[in-house]
Structures are given as C-alpha cells and as structure tokens.
C-alpha cells in the first residue's frame, strides 16, 4: 500500500486539478475523473457520472416482462448475455417457472463463453492501457471465435437477447457443439501466448505489482464484487455462494488471490477464463435433449410482491430487484450493477500514488461505463 507522501500531508497550496474525460480513450467510455494532483501525486479522485445515463430502470417500468430483458443488454454490454440471464431468472422466480434442463445447460455454456469473451477484451484493453498494442489483436482473434458461436446460435454478436423467461428463444444451432470444441482446442494453444506476451513480462510486472493495493476490509466496505473482491481474498462468487441454474452440480474453483494489487486482479481474471473453459468442457457433450423453452402464458403477470436474484457477471454481482403490483409491467426495477461499487473504490485505490499508475490501476477494475450509469 502506498504511504501518503510528505508533500501530500504538509502543503495545501500548489494543488492542480485536472480532468480526465469525459472523452478520453483511457477511461473506456464517457467517464469523467476530476483529479486533484500535488506534483505527480494524486490527492483525490472524484468520478463524475451521468454522461451515458439512459434511464434504463425507468424505461423498464413501461415495458412488459418479456420486453424489458433486451434493454439490459445495453447495461454491461460485454456481459449482455449474463444480464439477460439475471432478468429472466428474476421473472422466472416470480412466476415459478421451471426451466427445462436443456435451456439451463445452454444458458450456462453461453454465460461462460460471454465471461471468456469479456475477460479477453479486458486483457487486450488492459495491455493497451499500459502501452502495448499487440495483445489487443491477439485477444480479439480468440474473441472473434466466441462471437461467431454467438452469431450462429443467438443471431447477434454482442447484444444477443437470446434468453426469454422460461428458457431460450431458439434451439441451438447444429454447429454449436462442434464450434465450441474447436474453440476450446484453439484457446488452450493460444493461452500460452497470452502468458508469454504479458504475464511474465518485466515491464508489465513492475507496473502491476504493489500498485492499487486494496485490503479485504476496504473491498468489503465498498461492496465490491467479482475479480476486484477476489483479488483481495474475499470470497464473492455468486456461482458458489448462491448457486443458480446448474452451477451447484458443476466442478469448478473460485479463483482467489490475496495480494490485493493490480497483478492479483490480473491473475484472477486469467484463472477465471481457465475455470470457464473447464465448465464448458463439462457441459458441451452433455446437453440434455428436450424442450428449449418452458410453456409460458402469452402475457406474463408477476404476482404482487418483491423479487430479487443475483448472478455473477464478468465484473461481479449483478442483482435484479423487481417490485410488482400484479400487473404486466414492473412497478419498480432496480439493478445492482457491479461496476458502480467497483468504481467507488477508485479514490482509495490510487490516492497517494502517482498519476502514471492511475490508468494501470483503473484498468484492473474492468469498468464498463454504461453499466455504472445505466
């Protein structure tokens, strides 16, 4: 952890305030950071939000329970499929719909593919934040294969809207299993390239180790989840803690590191990709036959009450909270997005550090701005 430097404590004059964003390539979206600097030392960071607020929660109040799912793809667009999954789970919980096993397995496979695609993009963007441009293309090469699988089965590459309450929209494409097996073979060859290019690299290690250190207490008090929490040794994988769908029957490990620095968060994501591959390997040959969608009424009406489900997206815990008055549209919807809590720890994370390390440390939070603003 950074010690507060002498300049920081002694003088109040000579501070400089600079703005990073809202249009800045390093913030990966329209995030506005107001940074108070003393020399090169960061005194305070204030994230300003709202530039990409689209009022998704309010919008959902006027959409029916079938319609509102597609909007959530636009929150955390890199885990679009998992967002849809969370919403469908919440509606299913309210209506007590039993999802056919085939749909459950397909949903989980696609969830894990989404997680790999998201982490791969993060890996590329992370390396780009540190000044390396090539890894981005390496990451996109493998991500492209996942996108092709998505395109073939769901019909879209990013905002799939493949999940409907009660199952999935269409049956899987005949090539689905074949393509996934090809991907697994290729991925296992190429992951070594990732480690060779970035993980062991001395420049990378020096810029990641002991930078942006977070303790377990800090992580818990800010409500962080996902790889950010697990990098500090806090068990927070919803798939393990509150298993949904078929996760309790699967054999996988929750990646945990105790370092709490940027490097630990980096390792967590790399290991999570391996675990996702392990999950997919277990399922790809065992997709049960049967319906891909449960029979549901044409118009869905949730009973009066409150419903909450949470899932593990690539960034952490996404919670969906629906208040229903018994009608066809939700009375109130609230999303607990992982990005918002993870961003709020930024000040504690880089305070007292150098501005050069800000982008490197922020990159490991894996922020997706539309997820924070909604």
């Amino acid at each position: 952890m950074y010690r507060t430097t002498d300049i920081l404590t002694s003088s109040t004059s000579g501070d400089m305030v600079i703005n990073v964003g809202p249009q800045h390539p390093a913030t990966h979206g329209v995030l506005h950071l107001v940074i108070t600097l003393n020399g090169e030392t960061i005194k305070k960071i204030e994230p300003h939000l709202g530039y990409i607020h689209r009022s998704i929660e309010k919008m959902c109040e006027s959409l029916t329970y079938r319609q509102f799912i597609y909007v959530t793809s636009r929150m955390d667009y890199l885990s679009a499929h998992i967002n849809n999954h969370a919403c469908a789970l919440c509606v299913e919980k309210g209506l007590q719909i039993e999802v056919p096993p085939r749909a459950q397995v397909v949903r989980v496979i696609l969830d894990e593919l989404t997680r790999i695609a998201s982490h791969e993009l993060w890996w590329g963007a992370m390396a780009m934040d540190l000044g390396a441009f090539t890894p981005f293309f390496h990451a996109f090469r493998e991500r492209e294969m996942i996108n092709e699988i998505m395109e073939e089965t769901c019909g879209a590459r990013l905002t799939m809207n493949y999940i409907v309450p009660g199952g999935v929209m269409m049956d899987i494409h005949p090539n689905f299993q074949k393509k996934i097996k090809e991907f697994i073979v290729l991925y296992k060859q190429k992951i070594n390239e990732y480690h060779e290019l970035v993980t062991g690299n001395v420049i990378f290690e020096n810029r990641m180790k002991n930078i942006g250190t977070l303790t377990a207490e800090q992580v818990i008090s800010y409500g962080c989840s996902g790889p950010v929490a697990r990098g500090s040794g806090v068990k927070s994988d919803i798939r393990k803690l509150y298993p949904y769908e078929i996760y309790d029957k699967l054999d996988f490990e929750e990646a945990l590191e105790t370092g709490g620095d940027s490097y630990a968060r980096y390792l967590i994501r790399m290991r999570e990709m391996e675990q996702s591959i392990k999950i997919i390997e277990q399922l790809v040959d065992n997709i049960p036959d049967g319906d891909f969608q449960a029979k549901t009424k044409a118009v869905l009406k949730l009973p009066k009450g409150e419903f909450y489900t949470s899932v593990e997206t690539a960034r952490g815990e996404l919670g969906v909270y629906i208040v229903s008055e018994g009608g066809t549209t939700p009375y109130r919807i609230k999303f607990r997005s992982p990005g918002f809590s993870n961003l709020s720890i930024l000040n504690d994370m880089v305070k007292g550090g150098k501005i050069g390390d800000l982008i490197a440390a922020m990159g490991t939070l894996d922020l997706v701005i539309p997820d924070i603003d909604r």
């Binding site: 959409l63 079938r66 319609q67 509102f68 597609y70 909007v71 090539t134 090469r141 492209e144 092709e148 395109e151 073939e152 089965t153 769901c154 019909g155 879209a156 905002t159 809207n161 409907v164 929209m169 269409m170 494409h173 390239e193 060779e196 290019l197 970035v198 062991g200 690299n201 001395v202 420049i203 290690e205």
Partner: protein, 159 residues
C-alpha cells in the same frame, strides 16, 4: 549477494522481453496466421450466419403471397413501437363475409433494436430476420419500410 540478485533480475527481465519479442517476430514472419478480414473488399465472399439479425423482412412466395393475418401480435410484442400494422376488411368471395386482412405493414428500421421479439411472437411465421447489415442511407425517411409487397395477398389456408 546483492550483485548476484541484481544480475539475476536483469537476466530474467531480458529473457521475458525476448520471449515477448519472439512471439511478435513469429507473427511478423507468418502472414498466413493473420486473420484480418478486409471488408469491404471481401464483400462478395462474405458469409453471414443464417440467424443473423439484420432487419425484419416479410417472406413472400412465388405467387406474391404472404402469411400475415394482420393480427398485430408483433406490434404488441415490439418494445420500441417499430411496427405499425394497418388493416383493412376483405370481402370473402365465396361466403360474402367481411374478413380482417393486412393492408400495410410499416416497419421503422431506424427504431428497431433487432431483438427478435416480433418474430418470436408471430403465430404464423410471416416475418423473419434477414442477414443484411449495410443499412446506411442519406435520409432517415428511407429507413421506414413497407414490408408487404405491392399487390400481395394472404396465402390461402393461413388463419
């Protein structure tokens, strides 16, 4: 002792840099493994997935007949008011009864989020998603489309 560690560290650092450069060098000399798609030069050989959601189209058979009954299920399913169904009353020649039928299927591509909910909702399978993606035009009005062909009518037997 200090010197030994120092040299070890430098050697390790150089090795890690070299292995990264080796990877870069490998791809520099192996052009075949680079998978760049040169759009738009490859437009003729471009194959899109059959399920690709590019725009909503209405299928017509060789007799210029479609399967749309004008039931407005798709209009209701659409979250963005992209679809507007205008119906008319056809007179059945055999019985002389009036029957609701489709007059115009208006589709606003500029409002469509390509979510597939309308296709999923259609009871007769009259509309589907087409794998097209080059939708740019000079004026927004050109994106408002009429999906049923001129002079088309409903296929016999579709209820």
């Amino acid at each position: 002792m200090f010197l030994k560690d120092y040299i070890k560290e430098v050697a390790g650092a150089l090795k890690s840099l070299a292995s990264g450069m080796k990877m870069t060098g490998y791809y520099f000399t192996h052009h075949k493994e680079i998978i760049t798609e040169e759009y738009p030069d490859n437009r003729n050989s471009l194959v899109l997935a059959e399920r690709f959601k590019g725009e909503v189209v209405m299928t017509h058979d060789e007799n210029n007949e479609h399967a749309c009954t004008g039931c407005t299920a798709c209009e209701l399913a659409c979250p963005n008011a992209t679809i507007k169904i205008i119906t008319k009353f056809d007179v059945d020649e055999a019985t002389g009864k009036k029957k609701k039928a489709l007059d115009t299927f208006i589709y606003h591509l500029e409002l469509c989020t390509l979510c597939n909910l309308c296709v999923d909702a259609c009871p007769t399978g009259a509309i589907k998603m087409a794998p097209t993606f080059e939708h740019s035009v000079f004026d927004r009005n050109q994106l408002t489309k009429k999906l049923n062909n001129p002079g088309s009518k409903i296929r016999a037997g579709v209820e």
